[in-house]
């Protein structure tokens, strides 16, 4: 089915009405002013259910403009059903150019990964977030977690890391690894692998996080310190592989492990499809207008 890049006349630009976009932009400004702080916002009904990226879509809809170029990835891949659907959605309702090349995008909406290609100033990374509250598993009460954030009472988070070491010999959390933003708020970086956490630290790009079901927006402005929590004698470490990517040979990217036949043969492949294709050298231009 062809991608229409002509904006649908039946909808307001980028689907949301102007007042809603203003409300979301106000929330975004507030979030940027207080890095890592979860700002409640009046989330709207979107044409897909909760759990499918409604938060990310609302954030993107509020900031996207005609001159933008949008990339959408889902666990690193541009070609999954969801990534394709969302990209096509914005092409229709915002009439924007879309791309699979990280370098060419002005807005990148992502589910659960940060692109391998280093981001530049001026780019915006929009994260889809399921559970915005990093303390939720430790403290179920919203009233209490808000108080803990307000008072910087983060002992409970350190306790959970201690417990992980006590039980597993190391901090076993491998995704959605909690971070301290700007030395003040503990934040959930969304379920990205901990491999991606260092990319958030002082990134030149703007990071926006949208949780549709929980109706929270938070942000990390460019060049902000983002530190992964740890202990002095159990410092934060990212994943490593003994293999390299079977397609492009990369040893620096996050690799997905795939079982390729009934005998259990494994293959390791870059999760970031754009990165992999760039390295392979035969990248097809997909810029459309």
């Amino acid at each position: 089915m062809p991608d229409t890049s002509v904006q649908e006349a039946a909808y307001n630009y980028a689907y949301l009405d102007e007042q809603t976009k203003r409300m979301i932009r106000r929330a975004i400004l507030k979030a940027v002013a207080v890095p890592g702080y979860q700002v409640p916002f009046g989330g709207r009904e979107m044409p897909l259910p909760y759990g499918w990226g409604t938060g990310g879509i609302q954030v993107t809809a509020a900031i996207i403009g005609r001159d933008d170029t949008l990339k959408v990835i889902d666990q690193g891949a541009d070609d999954t059903t969801n990534a394709v659907s969302i990209r096509r959605f914005f092409a229709r309702v915002a009439g924007v150019a879309t791309t699979t090349r990280t370098e060419d995008a002005t807005i990148i909406q992502t589910r659960h990964r940060v692109p391998e290609t280093p981001l530049k100033e001026g780019q915006i990374l929009v994260f889809q977030v399921p559970i915005p509250e990093p303390l939720r598993m430790l403290e179920p009460r919203e009233t209490e977690t808000r108080t803990l954030h307000a008072l910087s009472e983060y002992g409970v988070m350190q306790v959970s890391l201690y417990e992980s070491i006590a039980r597993h010999g190391r901090i076993s959390k491998s995704y959605n690894y909690p971070v301290m933003v700007n030395g003040r708020y503990i934040m959930s970086p969304s379920p990205i692998p901990k491999f991606d956490n260092p990319k958030l630290d002082r990134s030149p790009a703007l990071q926006l996080y949208g949780a549709g079901r929980e109706k929270r927006i938070y942000a990390v402005p460019p060049h902000t310190p983002v530190k992964s929590l740890d202990f002095d004698d159990h410092p934060f470490e990212i994943e490593t592989w003994t293999e390299c990517c079977a397609f492009c040979g990369s040893r620096e990217s996050f690799l997905d492990e795939m079982i390729v036949d009934d005998a259990g043969k494994r293959m390791f492949v870059c999760s970031d499809t754009d990165w992999c294709q760039e390295r392979q050298g035969h990248h097809q231009e997909q810029k459309r207008k």
């Binding site: 008072l151 983060y154 070491i165 006590a166 002095d232 004698d233």
Partner: protein, 258 residues
């Protein structure tokens, strides 16, 4: 002898829906003293304890505490942030039901280490070492360090709760029936432990109990409450050996001899 009381309660009064729970309670607690509050159910002793410990706000009166770093503070005039910090550092609160004072889903070590981590401790090995030391002090086997309190007996949970509170070297500990509901032999062990810790750490404490034997063993001073009022007070031996108020005399004479 120091020259300032650690805790000063003045006319502390609390109502619940028109009924007075505690009325105009006034006393001073000095460093190193253990004050017992005895009374039967409905005497207002637990309400008073909660007002003293900042868990409830009195309707009238004041509670002043001589803090380590900021002089005398009005407990109920503090911001919530400061009061919560005080509760985690300079104070302890031992609940009758240990489950209310523990994180049941994390290990004993994590429970004890939490206060340290809350004030910035970041070396896992050191935290674990301190926690192990405290387990030893409260007579829990060292190999239980990584076990969760769900696997502990009632007495062990209570001892863990005590360790969790004392790890931050509090100056003042509030205790609400710390041995209530436990078997007699378990009680004896915990009382003995508390006695030793109070003496060795020079703790001050306010202890609510309905058990005069516990009061005799642990407290230096005693306040007897009836119907929300303090009807008699003095040194523990004075109140128990020379009771003057009718209610106190009745309490003392009601103890079954062994």
């Amino acid at each position: 002898m120091t020259d300032a009381p650690l805790l000063q309660a003045r006319d502390v009064t609390k109502h619940f829906a028109g009924r007075v729970a505690c009325r105009e309670v006034t006393f001073e607690l000095w460093p190193g003293e253990v004050l017992g509050i005895v009374g039967e159910s409905g005497s207002g002793k637990t309400t008073l304890l909660n007002c003293l410990a900042g868990r409830m706000t009195p309707d009238a009166g004041s509670v002043a505490y001589a803090s380590a770093s900021s002089g005398v503070v009005d407990i109920h005039g503090l911001s919530e942030a400061r009061r919560r910090l005080l509760t985690r550092t300079e104070w302890g609160f031992v609940n009758q039901d240990a489950r209310e004072g523990l994180r049941m889903g994390v290990s004993a070590g994590a429970n004890i280490g939490e206060r340290l981590m809350a004030i910035g401790a970041r070396h896992y090995g050191d935290i674990r070492g301190v926690a192990a030391d405290w387990l030893d002090r409260v007579e829990i086997e060292p190999d239980r360090l990584d076990d969760r309190p769900t696997t502990f007996s009632g007495g062990m949970r209570q001892r863990l709760q005590i360790a969790r509170n004392l790890v931050s070297n509090p100056r003042l500990v509030f205790m609400d029936e710390p041995t209530g509901g436990l078997d007699v032999s378990v009680q004896a062990r915990i009382l003995d432990l508390l006695r030793g810790l109070v003496t060795n750490l020079n703790l001050s404490a306010v202890l609510v109990t309905h058990d005069l034997g516990v009061a005799r063993l642990l407290t230096h001073r005693l306040m007897v409450m009836q119907g929300g009022r303090v009807v008699e007070d003095g040194l523990t031996d004075q109140v128990l050996d020379d009771p003057r108020h009718a209610y106190t005399q009745m309490l003392v004479s009601s103890i079954l001899p062994v």
